[in-house]
Symmetry: C2
Subunit: 342 residues, 2 copies
DNA sequence: TAACATTGCGTTCACGTGAACGCAATGTTA
DNA sequence: TAACATTGCGTTCACGTGAACGCAATGTTA
């Protein structure tokens, strides 16, 4: 049977209140007495009973805010599912979770909503940040006021956020390279199409991909990285250009949006299935192309965990004073073919 | 703020006890009154507070038994981690989890341990069953005594178990076929090595694999299925035989143990990297071969979920009277290369 | 030295629930 | 009709915890 505060109090010969003060560092206690009690609690294997704590804290419930884009992509739906599941779980323990969706993650709007959430009583915040100086300052301000902020999906490393939950994008690029190396024929050229080079994740993916592919296949030449800025028409134009320039083009890796344009180009030039295509993100369109066999692999993120974890990390911190184990909590890198979707 | 029994009682103009009787179907209540209260509770969005329930039930705690092999494979460690995590979670709500490991899942021994667990007060059981008539009867007996049994990893479909948590093995075979189709060269032969044909999972994997590969690649000939009975030497002998018989052998799919034998054969005959190898299960040895590039893909199971889910399903059933959503709860089919291990 | 603050403890209240008990009104049996 | 059972409710207790309060002993300030 589990050890309770009362049992510790009896063994220590003090009252329950004193044990409480000792274990929760509330002060107003003789340091020696506190130390003894802590040692005793440790020896007896005391673990606070969550149910008791939850009831006692229901007067001042832990309140977690979640600020998230409203975008209706399968990825975002997965994230939202994770958030909702976590919400149900912590709410059954008396906590509150306020979910705010905004249409586009514009920094000014987001900062405004952060302020609103604070005024609604949030003592912890999970947010998909944008790379913006004011947003960083806002996160730091929250942290200084002892309102921990967890970033997820994207990150501002220099900020005082508690931790980050998301993908290791460099490694994601390496996974793509490993797959490409498996399916490429003997010799040939590979095209890398990146999104905005200013976006950290895109830069990292291309870096991981090119480095590892060079390692694995010295019979393959990687063409200069092309930037399509998440634009399908641009991606299509680039692809067409490369196909006509290099008749031994064997593979294309796209770090971001633009798959539609690439597939259009391949189809028009009759190169579908001849040129291997690997991309990231389980968007609806990407999934359709995967099912149709127009692209070979998708590298996905565990969207559910990216929603679930931030809420839970904040709850553990605010409810149990439990710090996250790591600063970077990387979600699994998922390889998807048409056979293991869902 | 969350709705409580007390609030419902006030609105309904009855006492809290009456609401409790209505919502938990305890009888001793006017059916009309009960019906009204249930409707009201629904309308008010009542969700029982887990913390309150947990405290109230701490006199007769929910007790969950887990019966599991002691094998020290990475897979089993993952399962055990999942069980341990779930244990911590439900114990913090006052429940108890008794974990029993046995060295080999011998039916007689397992049945004995099931009996022991029942005598120790288990009111729910998670078990990796073996295909055995007596075991099936024991599971049925438990079910009849209102002790729900969840099977995981393997299953006895005909039994009265609550549900099964594990892999869809047929689909797992199809995933392997999809990968094989991607990496095989133009034309050639593929060898399928199965474990014991009597084991449901092995049969299903070969079936899924052969059917789908035939679909995808009519330039590829699939050789007659060979049985290595999870034996490395047998697998090695088969592989050597096939290599010398067919000089266009291009791929090998192994449903079970025997990868070591296959790799030995390939190495001796200088065919490493020339013949593609795909197998199942993230054993230590398999992972090493994957890292060394001797095998191309591993199809893995989500071991953690296979330990975590059964305990949670039983807890939800026993604590919240919540039935599992499905009879078959399939864990994700994971594609592993050396780049997305862990 | 009087007035007040701090230290170091014990005690009480409240949180929401399930189980057990109480008890009047009504039904059933011999 | 007396003795007992059942129905239909209300009431109380207990679970473990955090916060607030109480209060004597000791320290600090003017």
């Amino acid at each position: 049977m589990a050890v309770t505060l009362q049992q510790i109090a009896e063994v220590a010969g003090v009252s329950r209140g004193t044990v409480d003060r000792a274990l929760n560092n509330r002060g107003r206690i003789n340091p020696e007495v506190a130390d003894n009690i802590r040692k005793l609690a440790n020896k007896m294997g005391y673990q606070p009973n969550r149910a008791g704590r939850a009831l006692a804290m229901s007067k001042m419930p832990v309140t977690i805010g979640v600020l998230i884009q409203a975008a209706k992509t399968p990825f975002m739906e997965g994230v939202l599912n994770g958030v909702i599941e976590a919400k149900a779980e912590v709410e059954s323990l008396g906590a509150r979770v306020l979910i705010k969706t905004i249409n586009d993650m514009d920094a000014t709007k987001a900062i405004e909503e952060m302020q609103n959430l604070k005024e609604e009583g949030c003592n912890g915040l999970a947010i998909v940040p944008v790379d913006d100086e004011y947003m960083k300052n806002m996160i730091d301000k929250f942290a200084e006021e002892d309102i921990p902020v967890v970033t997820f999906n994207s990150d501002i490393e220099e900020s005082k956020r508690l931790c980050f939950v998301g993908q290791d994008t460099f490694r994601s690029g390496k996974v793509a390279a490993g797959l490409m190396a498996e399916i490429l024929p003997e010799s040939g050229k590979v095209l890398v199409i990146s999104g905005y080079p200013t976006i950290y994740g895109h830069r990292n993916r291309t870096k991981g991909f090119t480095r590892e592919l060079k390692n694995l296949r010295n019979d393959i030449k990687i063409l200069d990285i092309q930037y399509a800025f998440d634009d399908d028409q641009m991606a299509e134009k680039i692809t067409k250009g490369m196909i006509s320039e290099y008749n031994d083009l064997a593979g294309i890796y796209i770090t971001a949006s633009g798959v539609h344009g690439v597939c259009n180009a391949l189809e028009e030039q009759g190169m579908l299935n001849k040129i291997k295509v690997i991309s990231n993100d389980l968007t609806e369109q990407n999934i359709r192309y995967l099912e149709e066999g127009k692209i070979n692999f998708l590298i996905g993120q565990d969207s559910y965990e990216q929603g679930y974890q931030p809420v839970m990390l904040l709850f553990d911190k605010l409810f149990d004073s439990k710090e996250p184990e790591k600063e970077f909590i990387y979600t699994e890198i998922v390889i998807k073919t048409k056979y293991n979707l869902v």
